[in-house]
Symmetry: C2
Subunit: 216 residues, 2 copies
């Protein structure tokens, strides 16, 4: 059965999933790159993003790797795809990831501005969904064909899906930094009342990994 999962979503000690003021040079907002000091050096991400061999193994890599396991489709908020706001000025922006993005499956991007799908190298196709989060999930489920759907983020997108009770499991990494402001993942969301509990709590030197799962 398809599950809807959040994986490797990282927040600061003060609860922010990205820093403020995202732009082309700060895909995760100002200070946001520090968030992923546990993730970027892992073998999984070195291979997926940079095509490199090597990288850290152990706990951080275990979590990075499981984020890609059995994932048949992704959903991304618009800002995870692009620093552009409002209407698309042209079709030149094709994501942060170059010609061969690390997804290798269909990716559904939430946006208010329609755009034709983009077929990238390596099996990734970007689909732009203007019908809202339910439509995106419905299409992602079909595309996933029995595998899971991974909600990539950002915080606002995850919050929308949590509010609708649509996420089965979240792996959250807490990084040892303060961001001070930005997108607060847990703000205004009572996950306890929504039936979630912490089922894994695994530290590494660079992050604390927690898995939240909704009671069946």
């Amino acid at each position: 059965m398809t599950r809807v999962r959040v994986e490797s979503f990282t927040i600061s000690l003060d609860g922010y999933g990205a820093g403020p003021d995202q732009d082309i040079n700060n895909p995760l907002g100002v200070g946001g790159a520090e968030l992923h000091q546990w993730l970027i050096p892992t073998r999984t991400i070195q291979r997926a993003l940079f095509g490199k061999d090597g990288g850290t193994t152990a706990v951080d890599d275990d979590f990075a790797a499981r984020g890609f396991q059995n994932v048949g489709a992704w959903i991304l908020g618009r800002n995870m795809f692009s620093p552009i706001r409002g209407a698309w000025p042209d079709t030149s922006w094709q994501g942060w990831w170059g010609d061969s993005p690390p997804y290798h499956v269909p990716v559904f991007i939430l946006t208010h501005h329609a755009r034709a799908p983009i077929e990238m190298e390596g099996g990734t196709t970007f689909h732009f969904i203007t019908g809202g989060i339910h439509e995106a999930l419905a299409q992602a489920r079909v595309a996933a064909a029995g595998k899971d759907v991974r909600i990539g983020g950002g915080a606002a997108t995850i919050q929308q899906y949590l509010r609708e009770g649509l996420i089965d499991e979240l792996h959250i990494a807490i990084s040892p930094i303060l961001l001070g402001e930005g997108a607060a993942l847990f703000a205004g969301l009572d996950l306890r009342a929504r039936g979630y509990e912490c089922v894994e709590f695994v530290p590494s030197e660079k992050a604390t990994h927690v898995v939240l799962r909704r009671r069946a």
Copy 2:
């Protein structure tokens, strides 16, 4: 030189320092007792609160113990002393801790309602301060006589002192639970802009310990 420290202050994964609806049976609010699963079993707390030998050692106890080291006075918010709201109905309430509270130094309690000091067994004296956080800190500094002042909490009290730039260092423990609502420690406070950084990040099986320090 006297430093102003927060020690062993525990928050949930979603950032709350206590659960909602504090009352006589729930000193830390509903669900709040789960927060301190790392702390209560430690040798330090078993001895301090229950007069018992034994208890856990290692990381959790190291942090519990350092919270009492070189502390010459404490400051507590009213709700850390009492479930009573508004005026004191009488003088019968003398804290949550029985005849011999675990402080053994002067304790300054922030309240809007004046009350005579209470001298307890073992060196603890409760002083009730109606003049606000600055007055409490001034009196605590004098009482500490060169040792440090520990701000016990709760979250609202810590926030007030942080806003005034009066806290040098905070040890925060993050517990693997969700509270869902309650007193959010970091809400609306940009600690990064206020010059704090994470200088220690030490996991245990039961909590992630972080130390935040203001850059000099």
